[in-house]
Symmetry: C2
Amino acid sequence: MRMETMETYPIQIGSVTRRVPLHEPFPGVRIPLVDFLGDVEFVRAMAQELLPKLPDEVDLLMTAETSSIPLTHELASARELDYVVARKRRRPYMVDPIIQEVDSLTLGAGEVLWLDRRYVERILNKNVVLVMDVVASGGTMKALEKMVNRSGGRVVARVAGFHQGEPDLEIATVAELPQL
Amino acid sequence: MRMETMETYPIQIGSVTRRVPLHEPFPGVRIPLVDFLGDVEFVRAMAQELLPKLPDEVDLLMTAETSSIPLTHELASARELDYVVARKRRRPYMVDPIIQEVDSLTLGAGEVLWLDRRYVERILNKNVVLVMDVVASGGTMKALEKMVNRSGGRVVARVAGFHQGEPDLEIATVAELPQL
């Protein structure tokens, strides 16, 4: 019964279409709730669209947990690259982690990203592409970029599946998620 | 300097070998710190070992965030299946989520898994295989199984890359992570 009355919105990426539910983060603002976790076909379709946007000279991909992991994994797999995942909680095994605050309009309390120190040498002197499934203000991507810089790497491109509004940094995206 | 003095332990899966650092969760107990996040080659090697352990009659995979996601994605991709990811934090868009406590020996405070209600109909009447990268007590897998049962699905197999000790439920694994 629930799904029959729930409004959905069609999202098409390549030849794959999904009718996704709408989420209302604030009264009167509705956004399509895309879902990269668990939908292999959709993730693959998005990866195919994003692959041409990756520069040739990339050594490593980087993202933040959680929902961007499958897309980053597909891109890394297609390009035979490794990737690094910044965590949103400190993990028990982390030693001397890099801690980076996220300035975000959509999150209330300041979120923090954590990166175990052992990843720093993986980033050092590397050309890094930042990957997200959806970008809004771009706050998470800016925090990732600071982590790359602090680790001695260079961000050579930023890519995302969808953008909501206009992030104030240059990000190659495939489609816009409208506010409805 | 750090890495030269850090003890590592060799892990071989198929033809892929990784020298991983050791983590000391309690004084005198050291465990190899395997890392499925970001290592495409290692994840693929483990997926190849696990694929024969999946039954034929599987409709859906299920896991919990975060580190098990790449392995689950690879297995789902190879079998052309979807998967469901239980979350460790409530997400803002969740409506009427299924909440399941995890009984865990290794975690102090009771952890909780969250599953948005919209996934319930994806699980209903389905044959589900539970996937984890590493199992110790098996508490997370038991919590996932309760979520599947509460959603009207059936768990037909449980698979994991590594086991630590002997979980008290039947889980097909590829290798043991020793306590050193």
